[in-house]
Each structure stands twice: as C-alpha cells, then as structure tokens.
C-alpha cells in the first residue's frame, strides 16, 4: 500500500510542545502541507508570535523571526517590502493580533501589504494561562473573567476579520474552524489560496482559524470541539468575508 498521509516534508521531527488537542498542532501542519504543495519552503519567511506558537520554528523548517508580542505585521511588512518575491506570513494568536497588536494589524491591512496573516483564534490568551482575550465569548469564564466576560465592561468579542475585510486594500479574508476533518480541509484550502494570492501579488490576505485550547477552556479535547461547534462558531461564523481575487484576474482557482 502506498503512503497517503504523513508528516509534511518541511517539518522537523520534534514532538510539538502543545497541549493535547491543541488547535495549533493542526494549523502548523496545514501551513507545512501548503508550503510543501506550493513548493515554497525555500522562499517562505514566517513570523511567529509571542504566544503558544512562539516556538513554531521548532516544527516548521523555514526561515523564521520571532516578533515582539503583537508586532508581527510590522515586521512582516518590512520583510516583504525588502524581499518582495518571498512568501512572508505572520502566525498570530488572538491576543497578539486583536489586543496588543491591533494597531499593527489594522495598519498593515489598511496599507494592503502583500503578506499573509494566519490568525489563530482560540478565544483566550493561551500561553499566559487562559486570560480573557478580545475574542473571548460573552459570559465566558477565563482566569481574568472569573465570573464570565461582562460585555458591559469588556465589550463584545471582537470580530477582527470583519473589521479588516472592510478596509479598502485587503484582498482576501476567510474564517475557518478546526472542528472536523472537513473543516481542516477547508482551512488548508484557505491557507493555500492566501499564499497563492500573495505570490500572485493580489494583496493582503488573512485566514482566521478557530482553534481549540482545551487546557485553558478547562475541557477535554473532545468537549472543546463540541463547545466550538455549539458556541464559538455561532459568534464567529465561518466563511469567506472578502475575496477580490475571484473577480480580479479571476485568480480563484483554489482546488
């Protein structure tokens, strides 16, 4: 029988440090698979965040530079401008992108930098122990919202993708979820499209990926998938929020 599935070629052989059932593991693998399939390992430059994924370079074997918390888009902007023919992406958590990094995210998107943002939304600050994130669900209990997120004082969960999709120069924004094998496949397609758009110069792309954080949700991995399905996806509906590629240059030949 032939091997139909195994570790991406561009992956190192380390056991990932993520918790059992953590969405980062799947997201990493998908980025790796897309890098393999587009054969861009040699020209890909990744900017991992300050967050649980800070060690992404231990797994994906490409050039990577760590960004101070939230500043990935500023770094990626500069790297891409200096090296326009490389594929430059940030990989950011929701705290990193939507809280401390919202200014850099908002302005890189508004400038329409030709970069790709892989946005892992798990609704909490994972690395630091599950504090409330801008994306935390209303009434969700976290270590800094022990009585549940009070929307009156903390506001509603922020829909970054909607905000950025509304900006003039963003090209492609899609929200996906890693709850089912089908969702995983969709997510991979989105990442692939985003990278392809970047190579084709279509412009700024962001793929928001709803991902599990069983540890900080204080759930079993399986329960966390259920919870995502029942709660998180209601607040953050998956789907394409913007895609100028389909029209422009008819570039949407996502397989």
């Amino acid at each position: 029988m032939k091997k139909v599935f195994s570790k991406p070629k561009c992956f190192k052989d380390n056991i990932m440090h993520y918790c059992p059932g953590c969405g980062h593991g799947i997201a990493h693998r998908l980025v790796g698979e897309v890098i393999d399939e587009l054969d861009i390992r040699g020209i890909a430059i990744g900017v991992p965040p300050t967050g649980c994924a800070v060690l992404a370079y231990n797994y994906i074997d490409i050039d990577m530079i760590e960004a101070p918390h939230g500043r990935g888009p500023a770094m990626a902007t500069a790297i891409k401008r200096v090296l326009p023919d490389r594929v430059v992406f940030t990989y950011q958590g929701d705290g990193d992108l939507a809280a401390i990094g919202i200014a850099e995210s908002f302005h890189a998107a508004n400038r329409g930098e030709n970069i790709t943002v892989i946005f892992i939304n798990n609704g909490v600050y994972g690395m630091t122990g599950g504090q409330m994130a801008p994306t935390t669900m209303s009434n969700q209990k976290t270590t800094t919202s022990p009585y549940g997120r009070d929307v009156i004082s903390a506001g509603f969960p922020i829909k970054v993708s909607e905000t950025l999709a509304a900006l003039g120069r963003t090209a492609y924004v899609e929200r996906c979820a890693l709850t089912t094998p089908a969702g995983v496949v969709k997510t991979k397609k989105a990442i692939k499209k985003a990278f392809r758009y970047q190579r084709e110069g279509i412009g700024y792309s962001l793929v928001e990926i709803l991902a599990s954080c069983p540890t900080n949700w204080k759930m079993t991995p399986l329960d966390s998938l259920k919870w995502m399905d029942q709660v998180m996806l209601k607040e953050f509906p998956v789907g394409v929020l913007k895609d100028i590629g389909v029209t422009e240059k008819g570039a949407d030949h996502a397989d």
Binding site: M16, H17, Y18, C19, P20, C52, M127, T128, G129, T215
Partner: protein
C-alpha cells in the same frame, strides 16, 4: 533541620496540589516553609514540578539544589530529577506509570503503584494523595492528622465523600510503606 522535597509529574497529575498540601500542613505544624511551583509555558504538555522546603529556621532559597526527597509521578520526571536528589535521600515513585528503576543507588527508592491503588478505591485522580500518604510517613515530621486537616482546609467546600475519599487514599499510601 531543613528538608526539601521536589514533586514532579505531568500536568493533570495534581503535582502542584501535592506540594501545596505539604507546605500548608508544614505551616500548620509550626514549621517554616516555602513553596515554589513551576509556572508558565513549561506546565503545558510537558512536566510540572514544585519544590517545598520545610525547616525550623528562616529558609534562604526556596529552590531545591539537593532535595532530600523526590516524588516522581512519571518517567520524564524521574529522568529530570533523580540526579539532584541528596545522597541518602528518598525517591518515591509512581510505579504504575514508571516502569524503569532509579539509576541512583545511594538513595532509597519507594515504589508506589499509586494509580492501581487509587483505581482500587475507585478514584484514579486520588493517586497523588496516595503518594502523599507515603511521603508524609517517610518524612515523619508532620502528624497525619495535621496533614488531613490541611487537605480539608485546602479543598474547602468539597463535599464529605470527596474528603472521605482522600482520607482513604492517604491511608492506603501511608500504610503501603
């Protein structure tokens, strides 16, 4: 007198709770004590550990350079810490999960099949309390009653049955060695 104990295992084995209960009971028993947990990313996936110092005078460093005791809940923990145990010290290991034997020959190794014991009494999660039973007996400075009192305080509003469960688990561990 200054006794340092390192507790180590993977997240979810109640390692930090073991340490806290020892420090708390030491305080109740009138000793000086410090408790130092691991914190941050390391706890994720990997192993968690904490160090408890119990002494009768001011404790300088809460860190265990040469702990008298090591309570190891899984193999990586045994690997990580067995070498720093003081000569003549004690390694209490969770033999349900740890198949290998300690390399150190100059320490006493107490193998406690904590998970099996806990399973027997119908609560796998109580494996850490079983280990505490063995440790408290081995240390022989904290009265079992004081320790159980601390556990109660710590667990606060927990319902009787749970407390009873701990009482039994502790007893099993205490009597095992």
């Amino acid at each position: 007198m200054l006794i340092k104990t390192v507790f180590a295992g993977f997240g979810g084995q109640g390692v930090l709770m073991m340490g806290y209960s020892l420090a708390h009971s030491a305080m109740s028993a009138g000793f000086q004590t410090t408790y130092l947990p691991t914190y941050g990313a390391e706890m994720r996936g990997g192993t968690a550990h904490c160090t408890v110092s119990v002494g009768d005078e001011e404790i300088a460093s809460p860190i265990a350079s040469q702990p008298e005791n090591l309570v190891a809940m899984n193999e990586p923990s045994l690997e990580a810490f067995q070498n720093i145990v003081a000569p003549g010290g004690t390694i209490i290991l969770n033999s349900s999960i740890i198949r290998q034997k300690p390399r150190r020959k100059d320490v006493t190794a107490l193998e406690i099949p904590a998970v099996e014991i806990a399973d027997q009494i119908g609560n796998t999660k109580a494996a850490n309390i079983v280990m505490m039973g063995a440790l408290v007996k081995r240390m022989a400075i904290i009265p079992p009653a004081v320790f159980l009192k601390s556990i109660e305080e710590i667990m606060g509003g927990k319902k009787k049955s749970a407390l009873e469960m701990n009482r039994i688990a502790f007893g099993r561990g205490y009597d095992y060695i």
